[in-house]
């Protein structure tokens, strides 16, 4: 699971986190996390985002509040998370036990030319989540720590916030379905059944 840099390989980490996922719904922030969840296997309970930068964690909150018995994982990047830091406060106050946010932190804006993000310069997202009041926070840097992260995601004692330090290299593009309406509708149908398309 380690890249040559000694950091976690983002695709292998994603594969490990989504293996045996059960009924867990997954929101992926725009850019590489969306490609990652698609590369390890597209799924009706995946919502890979094409836009709305800064909103992934809040989409996860709305879903987690609506479906309190279902696990909800937000998998996003450091740049996307940094754009919506206020959500850490909002989510910590709501305390959805079924929500986990995992930031795949490569310390760069990978889609725009690998400019450095604030985490490259010491900004500590785990400390921010802790300060906001997340009851469970983790920093993951080694493969042997991944099973504990996975257990925390499924424990239902969240909200969980974790940063996984990953190798910065970009991976081959694996694009999700292009039409966001289909991506949303298929997740709604997977959660709500055929009534999803009739509910008003």
């Amino acid at each position: 699971m380690l890249a040559a840099s000694g950091r976690l390989d983002r695709r292998e980490l994603t594969r490990a986190l989504l293996a045996d996922r059960g009924e867990m719904a997954v929101i992926a922030g725009l850019g590489a996390p969306a490609w990652d969840i698609t590369a390890v296997g597209d799924h009706p309970l995946n919502l890979p985002l094409w836009g709305g930068m800064g909103g992934a964690a809040m989409i996860g909150l709305g879903l987690a509040l609506a479906q309190p018995k279902r696990r909800v994982l937000v998998l996003t990047g450091d740049g996307e998370m940094l754009m919506g830091l206020g959500a850490l406060a909002t989510i910590a106050v709501q305390r959805p036990r079924n929500l986990a946010i995992v930031v795949q932190d490569n310390e760069h804006y990978g889609e725009t030319g690998m400019q450095e993000t604030a985490t490259r310069h010491g900004v500590d997202l785990v400390a921010m989540a802790k300060g906001a009041g997340f009851p469970r926070t983790m920093l993951v840097t080694a493969p042997e720590e991944v099973p504990a992260l996975k257990a925390a995601i499924h424990a239902g004692e969240g909200p969980v916030f974790a940063v996984a330090k990953i190798d910065a290299a970009s991976k081959p593009l694996v694009l999700p379905p292009r039409d966001g309406a289909i991506i949303q509708a298929r997740m709604r149908e997977a959660i709500l059944g055929p009534a999803a398309h009739h509910q008003l």
């Binding site: 809040m58 709305g62 987690a64 509040l65 206020g86």
Partner: protein, 183 residues
């Protein structure tokens, strides 16, 4: 009400905030996201007192746009309450509604709109409708108390029946303009 409050709440005798609450209940709105505004203060109290409604206080309004989509994914209807200044914070996030065809109703109390005292409220208040419409939002206004509930009703119906962002602008004429005791 406190005559020195920065923001103005509707008169206690006004019934339109309670009428909005009734519309939210009729449409089975389960999540109410908001950045507080004095104009919405009574409605917010009603929502907080209702165990069938989850009130999510945001740090910034665009969080509410994303939250509405998450609620919809999970089969719950949500609305976003905000002041006109907050509309400016939502603009790019409204892309989510068009990308995914997600219903996104917004109930906006206007400032900088009718007899405003505070010049800081005017730039965004004057631009509110234009920027919402620039992002493809269906915008309807209520400038008389009796128009508020029907406008909110129409806004919620159009969002959930036609899968798009919609906004009800509640005019400052309805709420009353704050004067900082200078009137």
């Amino acid at each position: 009400m406190d005559p020195h409050a920065i923001d103005k709440a509707p008169d206690a005798a006004a019934s339109w905030p309670d009428q909005i609450y009734d519309v939210l209940k009729r449409h089975e709105i389960r999540q109410v996201a908001l950045v507080p505004d004095a104009g919405h203060s009574r409605l917010i109290k009603r929502c907080l007192a209702d165990h069938g409604i989850k009130v999510i206080t945001l740090t910034t309004e665009e969080e509410g746009i994303a939250l509405i989509q998450g609620a919809w994914l999970g089969g719950e209807k949500a609305v976003l309450l905000m002041q006109s200044s907050g509309v400016g914070n939502c603009i790019n996030m409204l892309s989510l509604s068009h990308i995914h065809r997600c219903p996104m109703p917004m109930l906006v109390t206007m400032r900088g709109d009718f007899g405003e005292f505070n010049s800081a409220q005017v730039p965004m208040g004057a631009a509110t409708q234009a920027v919402l419409e620039a992002m493809g939002t269906l915008v309807r206004r209520a400038d008389r108390p009796e128009d508020v509930a029907p406008t909110v009703e129409a806004t919620i119906r159009m969002a959930f029946n036609t899968f798009r962002p919609t906004a009800a602008l509640i005019g400052q004429r309805v709420i009353g303009a704050k004067t900082f005791g200078k009137d």
